[in-house]
């Protein structure tokens, strides 16, 4: 599920005056709920709650517990723009989960005003999660990668 699909769902809600919409697909459940209060005419930003339904037979049960480790490091977007995992559509992504990232290593591209900006990591660690979605917008300070310190 990506931001475009979520936006479509939001439009659907607005067009049909829905206050709450829950969709489950492909092992993921999303609930969109408009924050309501009498004084609010429904124009507050929508709260998005996202749960990842664990697979019925988790491959690595130990891994699932490690999903919230005590110490992780984040690489956050230093600018607002569009996030890309690779220098071009045909090229392989800069980094993959499991890889060791060194300071100065290019981890992604953020495009702004038609300029491709190579974003370098300032920290060292093992990449455990990629939060940025390819070709989707990121704002300043938004976490893109989660690293485990070594």
């Amino acid at each position: 599920m990506n931001i475009k699909e979520i936006k479509e769902m939001l439009n659907l809600m607005n067009e049909n005056n829905l206050v709450e919409l829950e969709i489950e697909k492909e092992g993921m459940r999303i609930r969109l709920k408009k924050s309501g209060s009498r004084s609010d005419d429904g124009n507050r930003p929508v709260i998005i709650e996202r749960e990842t339904i664990p697979e019925s037979q988790p491959k690595e049960p130990v891994r699932a517990q490690e999903k919230t480790p005590a110490k992780t490091l984040e690489i956050r977007a230093p600018m607002v723009g569009t996030f890309y995992r690779a220098p071009s559509p045909e090229a392989p992504p800069y980094v993959e989960v499991g890889q060791i990232i060194e300071p100065g290593q290019v981890v992604c591209i953020i495009e702004a005003m038609k300029l491709m900006n190579e974003i370098k990591s300032e920290i060292r660690g093992k990449l455990v999660e990629i939060l940025g979605e390819n070709a989707e917008p990121v704002e300043f300070g938004q976490p893109m990668f989660i690293l485990e310190p070594l």
Binding site: N43, P45, M79, V80, A112, M113, E139, F140, G141
Partner: protein
């Protein structure tokens, strides 16, 4: 009409623009720095995007970040508010080249009026009265003296590329002019990179009267009357009112027509303001043009009933002005007090911090434009304006009474604000008579202003 726009600003003006958009059915995108995450304009917008750290240069003045935010949220236009990038012709041009409408005048309008000497010359050519002065840069002190003798003392030396009161010297005779000339040149060089200075007649105890104009893309231009902004401290306006106590109907027509002529001369589009100095004999002189919506626009909205921000949006989206000059009527009187988070007893020292108490004034004739709420933390990175208190009455006397009452109801703490300062102004006999000049604040506070400019 646009379906979605981005507001490249913060604080009360961002909220103001969002309100107008709400009423016109336009979806809004707010951009904010990390320091403004809990700001009111962020909460009220339909979408909000963090574009940078607290420093303005890295956020609200960061053109690539703002354009990038506009692109990813797919907006049709950007409203720059006032300050920040509002009069940055480069930014206006970039918007154009990225196919995003800039809600304001053209880049050319901004460029032309940004060059103060050029603006003066242009206005003079179309017959607007300008303060007598040198037709061009003055090269030597001998030339300076010749000009001063022609236009009569006192004169003021000004930096051609300058502003903010820097590089200005008031001279009352040949001797002081001769000695001040070189120092003025040196100051201009140090502050603005070139020693170019020009000379103007110094209008003593002038009033600052500005005229609001609106122009659509089809050449229709109207004026919406004047605002008297004589109450200033160090060239910062503190209180504004409309109508001006010294402008009668006949003078309003003349100064209004002059303003429209000025706007026509440069093919101006959207909202703008022509600033004039008015001397004690009611002669008015073109000073400069502001190519943006101004802080004090609510005062004009009150006496004309016309929503200026909505007009900006309509004009930018290609609509014709829906009214002619004869359809505009001026009724009543309005006063605006700019409430700043400053300690006026301590040289107006800024007082950022948490607002624990916030009780807004209300009742008939009271309008409050503010982004502040109880629990809000005023950041230290931006200007200290926290609220605009506007009152409207059937005449100046009633407006004054309403303002006195409203200021008394307005409770903000524990941070210091300029509310008590405004209360002092509203009790001052000179002010109550309407007899003020740009020196008023300085005199009221005991002449410690050090501006004399």
């Amino acid at each position: 009409m646009f379906s979605k726009i981005l507001i490249a600003n913060r604080g009360e003006i961002a909220l103001r623009i969002i309100r107008a958009c709400r009423e016109l059915g336009i979806r809004t995108v707010a951009v904010f720095s990390e320091a403004d995450r809990n700001s009111q304009h962020v909460r009220f917008a339909d979408e909000a995007l963090c574009i940078g750290p607290a420093q303005s240069s890295k956020s609200y003045l960061n053109i690539p970040s703002i354009i990038s935010a506009a692109e990813i949220t797919d907006v049709e236009a950007i409203h720059p508010g006032y300050g920040f990038l509002a009069e940055n012709s480069h930014f206006a041009e970039i918007c154009e080249s990225c196919h995003i409408k800039f809600i304001g005048p053209t880049p050319e309008n901004i460029r032309m009026m940004g060059d103060k000497m050029n603006a003066r010359t242009t206005m003079h050519k179309v017959g607007l009265p300008i303060v007598p002065g040198s037709p061009e840069i003055v090269k030597s002190k001998e030339d300076a003296i010749k000009i001063a003798q022609k236009i009569k003392y006192p004169v003021i030396i000004k930096a051609a590329s300058g502003g903010g009161g820097k590089g200005m010297r008031i001279c009352h005779n040949d001797v002081t002019l001769a000695s001040s000339f070189m120092t003025a040149q040196a100051e201009a060089e140090a502050n603005f990179g070139n020693p170019n200075v020009y000379i103007e007649k110094y209008v003593e105890k002038p009033r600052h009267v500005e005229v609001q104009i609106l122009a659509d893309k089809y050449g229709h231009i109207v004026h919406l009357g004047e605002r008297d902004c004589s109450l200033q401290r160090r060239h910062q306006k503190l209180l504004e009112e409309s109508p001006s106590p010294i402008i009668n109907e006949k003078l309003r027509r003349r100064i209004g027509e002059a303003a429209v002529k000025a706007a026509k001369a440069v093919n101006y589009v959207n909202a703008g303001t022509i600033e004039f100095l008015v001397d004690k004999n009611s002669n008015f002189y073109f000073m400069e043009m502001n190519t943006r919506i101004q802080v004090e626009h609510p005062v004009t909205e009150a006496v004309t009933g016309i929503d200026l921000i909505k007009q900006q949006l309509l004009i930018a989206s290609g609509e014709k002005l829906s009214f002619k000059q004869e359809d505009i009527h001026f009724r009543g009187a309005a006063i605006e007090c700019r409430i700043n988070a400053e300690d006026y007893e301590n040289n107006f020292l800024p007082c950022p911090g948490k607002v624990e108490t916030f009780h807004a004034p209300g009742g008939p004739g009271v309008r409050l434009d503010s982004h502040v709420y109880q629990g809000y933390v005023i950041p230290s990175y931006y200007d200290s304006l926290i609220a605009k208190l506007i009152v409207y009455g059937k005449n100046r006397q009633e407006a004054v009474r309403i303002m006195q009452r409203a200021l008394g109801e307005f409770d903000i703490g524990p941070i210091k604000t300029t509310i008590p300062f405004h209360q002092k102004v509203l009790e001052n006999p000179q002010f109550l008579k309407g007899d003020v000049s740009t020196h008023f604040i300085q005199e009221m506070l005991g002449g410690d202003d050090n501006s004399g400019r």
